[in-house]
């Protein structure tokens, strides 16, 4: 049935073309509105002006992105490791679960952004504070999804392992963890975006470099086009990190399903 395959290809093409077309239309409408309504560039620069600024400052912006990206990656890595260990702990012990789970849920409800200044007080204005804050923000999605995944392991599979005389450690690694992988990755994907957010917030408060610093600094000087250029690079950074995690997830799902 070539008809079916053709429809499939059309759909894929459409799925790619439609968002691109939307972006182009938005940019054109934006450009036209700003030009026709004669809005000052300080308030809202045109996409053309932003692109021009971006092209001019790209090397320095990329350097700043490197700083932000490195710290976000460090925070994300910390969160993934800590989240996984935490989830393993609370899913393996009822006592630990009862002690920590209410606190974890409560932490979810706190606007954690409000804690950022405290981290700078505790850890100084260096990278440690920003990384730790990013880790805090991105820790919870990994923790909670992984805990749910570990908890929802096929109970018969656990029984099977027990009937074979498997140790708790063996059951954890050969059954629980693989079963929890999809949940772990859906948490990690959310976490990756949180990590970038965390670093940027910390940079807003106190930093001398990084994209968050650029945004605040240029904003203070009313260089709006430069702010937009930095935001564009920041979006690309967030997407890149998310893309890497989603890619690893795809590989793991392929391994899982065959």
């Amino acid at each position: 049935m070539t008809g079916g395959r053709q429809t499939g290809r059309h759909e894929r093409l459409l799925a790619f073309a439609l968002p691109v077309a939307t972006a182009i239309v938005v940019a054109l409408v934006w450009q036209a509105t700003v030009t026709l309504a004669d809005i000052r560039e300080i308030l809202l620069p045109t996409p053309g002006a932003i692109a021009e600024n971006l092209a001019r400052t790209l090397p320095s912006l990329l350097n700043q992105a490197l700083v932000t990206g490195r710290e976000a990656l460090a925070g994300f890595a910390l969160a993934v490791v800590a989240g996984f260990i935490g989830a393993a702990a609370i899913s393996s012990s009822k006592l630990l679960r009862e002690i920590f789970y209410p606190a974890i849920v409560a932490m979810q409800l706190i606007p954690k952004v409000a804690l950022a200044p405290l981290f700078l007080v505790f850890l100084g204005i260096g990278a440690e504070a920003r990384i730790t804050f990013a880790a805090l923000l991105s820790f919870f999605p990994v923790l909670i999804s992984t805990a749910v995944g570990l908890h929802n392991t096929d109970l018969t599979a656990v029984r099977l392992c027990r009937s074979l005389g498997a140790s708790g450690w063996q059951i954890f690694w050969s059954v629980r963890v693989p079963f929890a992988l999809p949940a772990f990755f859906s948490g990690a994907r959310i976490s990756s975006t949180m990590a970038v957010t965390g670093v940027v917030i910390a940079e807003f408060i106190s930093s001398t470099d990084g994209l968050g610093f650029v945004i605040v600094d240029q904003g203070a000087h009313a260089r709006t086009a430069a702010v937009f250029a930095a935001i564009t690079v920041l979006c690309a950074l967030g997407l890149a990190l998310y893309g890497v995690v989603a890619g690893i997830e795809k590989l793991s799902v392929r391994w899982y399903r065959g």
Binding site: T156, R159, G258
Partner: protein
Amino acid sequence: MDTIAMPLAEAPGGDGGFIRVRNARKVYATGDKSVEALSDVSFDVARGEFVAILGPSGCGKSTLLMMCGGLETSTGGAIEVAGSPMAGPRTSIGIMFQDPTLLPWKTVLQNVMFPAHILRRRDVKYSDRAHRLIDMVGLHGFENKRPHELSGGMRQRVAICRALLNDPDILLMDEPFSALDAITRDEMNEALLDIWRSYAKTALFVTHSIREAVLLADRVLVMTRRPATVVADIRVPFGRPRDMSVAETPEFAKLCAQLRGMIEHGTGKPARRPGDGPVLQPGRLGGEE
């Protein structure tokens, strides 16, 4: 002649059963309420004997099986296997669950090899055996397929191979075919009879299908709800090797009717008129869970 005692391939060793269950009880305590899942069950299974435990859903037959496999503790009584009391799972006991419980990220061969993986025995002896078992159940050529590429019946065949990998003395089966459609179920029963031809082990087989119990077993233990206990111990008069054709005989139909009567009335006595107007579907007891 409803039930005729037939000599078994290996006669039951008098009172020295291979599996001995004595006054086994199981009470689940939930909060301040306690539910009696099993009250006072006693029976013996001889070495090499295939015994079906037949009863409606929720009569505690699966609990009883898991107790024999060391996966559930008993609240009272004693369960002995091969002369020693059950204290926990043993590698000499293979278990098949209602769900095939294959690990989706492993191939057919890796799933069959899973017990060796857990026991950290990865020698050639095990992989040879795994290949032979896979051939035996007719899955040759599927060794590197993943579970999602197999049909329900094929998945249960993989589960049989896995349960037999350690060459267990006892095979415990917990309604292994109840999730399959009627045709596949018949195929699986036939496959199991085939396996038994070359591979006779001691077996306990839990089912709620009368037909399946009579087709497969040397003896059928009938269980009822309230009290959750064994009410009858019926010897199946068909020898081995056995095939699906026994299901066509009048004796088969008669024995099924007799068992149906026992379950309906919840007693060990045959129904007043065995075989008349079944309230339940033939070959089925109660609903699927």
